[in-house]
Every structure is written in C-alpha cells, then in structure tokens.
C-alpha cells in the first residue's frame, strides 16, 4: 500500500521536479508522430512567395538602421534553445512565439501563442521559459516545438536569417513599409503547420 502511495505522489509531482531542474517536460522535437513531410508546402504558392521574399530581402538588406516586422517560419518545429539562438543572432525583438503542440487525448494539433515585448534576449528567454512551463502544466497537450516567431528584425539581419538552415521563410509583408508597396500582399499561407 505504501509503495503505491509513494509511486502516486512521484507521478503527480514529476513536472515540479522537472521544472526545478530547468528542463522542460516533453523535450521539443523528440516526437515523430506528426509527419511534416505530408504538409503541402507548395500549397497556395508558398514556394513562389518564398522566392519573391528572397528577392525583397536583397533589396532591403542595405537599409541600415531600419527594421522590419517579420514572421519567421521554421522548417521544422525547433527546440527552445535553437529558437533562442536564432533570435539572438538575428537581433529580433520578438512580439509573438508560436508553439505547436498536440493533444494527448485525440492527437489533434494545438497552437500556442506566447506574447513577449522584450528587447533584451535574456528577458525574452526568461519569458519563453516561464510561459512554456505554464503551457506544459496542461497534461492534455504535448509540446512539439517552436514553429514561428513574429517580431522586428534589423534590415541587415534579414537576408542572413533567410539562409539559416532552420528557417523556411522570413515574411516581411506584414511590415507597414512593405504592405504599402504594390505587389506584396501579405500571404495568408505562410504557416507550414496548418492546412
């Protein structure tokens, strides 16, 4: 009887121990049950849009001192550390972080949006850590990884960011400077993870 009670206490308390160790339960990217190759990346002309964006990045990369509201979509859901590295290297001031999760009840996809308004990378990291812990306390979901980041990126960092192997698309069409220009309608299909 005592053994059963001890096991019960340990199983219920496990997330607390995990958080104390600074780790996040359900390591990102370890789940392979979602087949991302099945997502039709060319749907809605997404590759055409990517091509157009790459040309635009070259043009705006010389605008020193400017920054652009960018939606950075990743090739695959990233580990927390990988996403933070990209934010640090790109000097992005992140407003939203999109996290993909799946329901442990019926396997349906769940999207989590984490708000941040921190210009400092350390503050962003702190916000992300805390918010992910909060999200993971819901035992009905399993986090799969970070799929996109929305924030302001310095112009000179945009082109290098697009060439990062983790990055599928740096979409700058939501920026007022671009959306005012003819021919760059914001593309609604930038998200690779939803049909």
């Amino acid at each position: 009887m005592k053994i059963i009670i001890v096991l019960l206490v340990l199983s219920v308390s496990f997330p607390v121990f995990a958080l104390d160790n600074g780790t996040v339960r359900g390591i990102f990217g370890s789940d392979k049950s979602v087949d991302y190759t099945q997502v039709k990346k060319d749907k809605g002309g997404l590759y055409e849009h990517q091509k157009k964006m790459k040309q635009l990045h070259k043009k705006i990369s010389k605008q020193d001192g400017q920054d652009y509201l960018s939606t950075i979509t990743f090739e695959n859901p990233l580990l927390k550390g990988e996403a933070i590295d990209i934010v640090e290297r790109s000097e992005a001031k992140v407003k939203f972080t999109y996290v993909l999760a799946k329901s442990t009840v019926d396997n349906e996809l769940v999207t989590i949006g984490i708000y941040s308004n921190n210009e400092d990378i350390n503050l962003y990291q702190e916000t992300l850590n805390e918010s992910l812990k909060n999200a993971e306390s819901d035992k009905d979901i399993q986090i799969l990884g970070i799929t996109a980041i929305v924030g302001h990126v310095p112009a000179k960092r945009i082109d290098p960011l697009q060439t990062d192997s983790h990055v599928f698309l740096v979409d700058v069409t939501a920026d007022r400077k671009i959306s005012n220009a003819k021919g760059y309608r914001h593309h609604f299909g930038w998200d690779l993870y939803h049909q």
Partner: protein
C-alpha cells in the same frame, strides 16, 4: 497516513488547474451573426506560475454547425451578402477581453492556446490601460469544420490585490476581421458579447 494523504492533495493542487465558475450561451436563431456558434461554454481556472505567481485562465468552447461553416467560408472568400465587410476577405475572430471596474486593470494576458485551424493570435493593450494587456484575439485563417469542438484559452498574469476596482468583467465575443497593416482589424462583431462574466477583485478569485 494523514501526512501522506496531505502530500498527495498538495501535489495534485500544485499540478492541476482548478476549474470553477462556468457560464454559457444558447441561441435559437442567427440574430448574433451567421458565423456565431449557437451554443458555447466558458470556464475559468487558476494555477500557480506566470509573471505574478498566479495565473488566471479563461476558456471558451464551442461547436459550429453547417450554416456557421458555410457563412464563414463566404466571408473568407469575400462573397455573399455581408456589407459590413465590404466583400473583402474576412476571417473568423474570437475576442476575449477583461473590462476592469476601474482604470486599474489587474489582469495581464500573455498566452493564448487554441485548436482552431491556422490561428493568428494577438494580445493588445488599449487605453486607458497602457501597460497590462486586456485583450487576446484569435483570427482563424484555416477552414473550420462543423460538429467539431473548438476552444480558445487565455492565460492572464493575476495581479489583483483586493483594491477597489480590481475586479471586472470577462467578455468573449465573435466577429470577423480583415488584414490590416500589421494585424487584423474587426469589420463586424456579433450583436452582443457571447459571454459576460464577472471576476473578483482579490488575487486568485473568480
């Protein structure tokens, strides 16, 4: 034995959201808008953590019927008789807002979670509050299905300290939005909010 039982209870409480205080809506017609689900429910919860140490959660659940879905698709394509959205591409929007009793908003939205297809989230602060975020919004760019249960949950940093005016109303309202410069702007809202539910003025209360 009592100590062990107490440990189990504490461990359970630390790791689980406590649910209480639900409300709902039920309409017999589409006066609120053809895109508004006829039925839905709302629940509040509390959990430890977050920027303030206590997280207040609000959850709305709903199911679309075939008429809702057909209407939403019309809006998405900018077709049909929807003069408020000027025949432009419009997307279903679920708005969850805290309306404080006084100037001082003590709930601060910072996380949104949903199973809606291809959601775009926004968390906003509007005057008079210039620091805490009183509104969380989900714009649905994907195609919804009829008969499926959808939800949207918002996590709020709970900063209430019992002061007069720290309480207020939690509201949920459906609408349709169009792409603006950097976010989505509502072109039509349902006639009334679907949920208007009071929250208390003390930390960790409904």
């Amino acid at each position: 034995m009592k100590k062990i039982f107490l440990c189990i209870v504490i461990a359970f409480c630390v790791n689980n959201i406590v649910q209480a205080g639900t409300t709902s809506w039920s309409y017999s017609n589409y006066d609120q808008g053809t895109y508004v689900p006829l039925k839905g429910s709302f629940a509040e919860g509390l959990m430890s953590g977050g920027p303030s140490g206590t997280i207040y959660t609000t959850n709305v659940r709903f199911t679309f019927n075939t008429k809702n879905v057909a209407s939403i698709i019309e809006y998405n394509k900018g077709i049909g008789a929807h003069p408020d959205c000027n025949g432009e591409l419009s997307y279903l929007t679920v708005d969850m807002s805290a309306v404080p009793d006084a100037y001082d908003l003590e709930l601060d939205a910072y996380l949104v979670k949903s199973n809606l297809p291809n959601p775009k989230f926004d968390i906003e602060t509007d005057p008079p509050s210039d620091f805490d975020h009183e509104e969380s919004e989900t714009v649905v760019l994907g195609t919804v299905s009829s008969g499926k249960s959808y939800y949207m949950t918002t996590y709020w940093a709970d900063e209430r300290d019992g002061g007069t005016g720290d309480g207020g109303l939690l509201q949920v309202q459906f609408g349709m939005s169009q792409k603006g410069f950097s976010d989505y702007n509502t072109c039509i809202n349902s006639k009334d909010p679907q949920i208007v539910n009071r929250y208390g003025r003390s930390l960790g209360t409904y």
